[in-house]
Amino acid sequence: MRTPADIAAAIADGALLALPPDYSLVSMETVRALIRRRAKNLRLLGVPILGMSADLLIGAGCVAEVETSAVSLGEAGLAPRFTEAAEKGEIVVRDATCPAIHTALQAAEKGVPYIPLPGVLGSDLVKFRPDWKVENDLLIVPALRPDVALFHARWADEAGNVWVGRRRELATVAHAAKQTFVTFEELRKGDMLEDELLAPGVISSTYITGIAQAPRGAWPLGVAGVYGVDDAHLSLYAKAAKTREGFQRYLDEWVLTPRKSFSPA
């Protein structure tokens, strides 16, 4: 496995694909590669919410179903392709709430079939989730085991470990998923688990199925401490994606046209 395109090829059509929110190391380069390979019927899982990655995949016709606590572009506003697809019934939306997704992944991580969660019972969400049960005034959510977890990391090393720092929801989803693919900014020599300062931010290679280097691979989203979110580009996207035609022009220019570099210019 050498490139984001190789990862995209290894993610099967119809897979339950877990993705992080826009603030937590999204492998945007693999998302673009999934669109270029015309992935179909993906079932996205927001861990626990989704943003531009999901909006792109939905607009490009790669998605059948979304389970998430929200889809939003943050300051850039509503996610336009998600919104239209949901309003027209073109995708199935399984509405959740953030801690239910975190907790369900933690159940999978522990290898238990279900796990209780307080709160939530006053919400209509429960009525639309036949898989959620209520016992002794507690919500019982079934373990959630994604087919694939996909995210980006600042570093990978020669031992196949990846470093995500404090973005520990990525560790949880990697522990829970059947397969985990990671793109990364830079390769480090050696084994990060031998470094006491780096080790707490590492996800061990035990959980990693495949890695591929992608410098600036989270762009237009950010990697804390390396590069920031390209807010101007996000707002350009939010405007363009308001219409199907504008979205198609965006895809043609920024996703489907081969680029020499992952960076914007």
């Binding site: 919104t83 953030c98 709160g119 979110v229």
Partner: protein, 226 residues
């Protein structure tokens, strides 16, 4: 005091509402609550302010679940929620209304019942947003207050009804016309006190600087920061 932006007034109201709070958490897309909490922290240094989506120096080291684990244990006493619709029972709807799809419930279904002092905040004050009954209940809980671009309501726990405390950029009459649910009116109802000179200089100085990295568009629009 000089002229001020409506966002500055709302941030000041929030700063007054969170007085005495020990740990305020702030979720997605909440630049005004963040500004209000940062402002309050200047005079109440015991207040901890945790932005869930802080881009750098994020306060959570166990990932985004840590916020919910903290709330589940009672370690968060102030949280902010909005809604495409909010009704007179305090229920909020972040999912769908009038055929339109909204982003989704986020953590509200858990946070609202778990955090004792949830502040409901929605800038738009209209019969479209403040409705007799929400179309979808994302979450129910016991709010501390409801703040809009035109009014501040307190929550009466016994009566389970809002009570109008003050109005801003508006009148008591107009608030009645634009509110779709029934509410009581405080005998002392008045115009919301405007920001003081000190509050404004703190907002435009240290608070603006703290808010800008996470809400660049907001900081540019309100304070001309880039």
């Amino acid at each position: 005091m000089g002229p001020y932006a409506k966002e500055e007034l709302l941030a000041c109201v929030i700063a007054r509402l969170v007085e005495g709070s020990r740990h305020a958490a702030i979720g997605a897309s909440s630049p005004i609550p963040a500004s209000g909490c940062y402002l309050s922290r200047i005079t109440n240094p015991q207040l901890r302010v945790s932005l869930q989506q802080r881009r750098a120096a994020n306060p959570f080291t166990e990932g985004s679940r840590e916020l919910f684990d903290l709330a589940g244990q009672g370690r968060i006493d102030t949280f902010f929620l909005g809604g495409a619709q909010i009704d007179g029972t305090g229920a909020i709807n972040l999912v769908r209304a009038e055929g339109r799809r909204f982003p989704g419930s986020f953590g509200s279904a858990f946070m609202y019942p778990m955090v004792p002092g949830t502040i409901l905040f929605r800038e738009e004050h209209s019969r479209r947003t403040l409705v007799p009954k929400v179309e979808f209940v994302s979450a129910r809980g016991t709010p501390r207050a409801l703040l809009t671009g035109k009014a501040l309501f307190s929550w009466q726990k016994e009566k389970k009804r809002f009570r109008l405390e003050s109005f801003h950029h508006s009148t008591k009459q107009e608030v009645a016309e634009l509110t779709g649910f029934e509410y009581d009116v405080s005998p002392d109802v008045k115009e919301t006190p405007p920001p003081t000179d000190e509050e404004l200089s703190l907002l435009r100085g240290p608070v603006a600087k703290q808010v800008a990295p996470d809400y660049p568009e907001f900081a540019r629009r309100v304070w001309g920061l880039s």
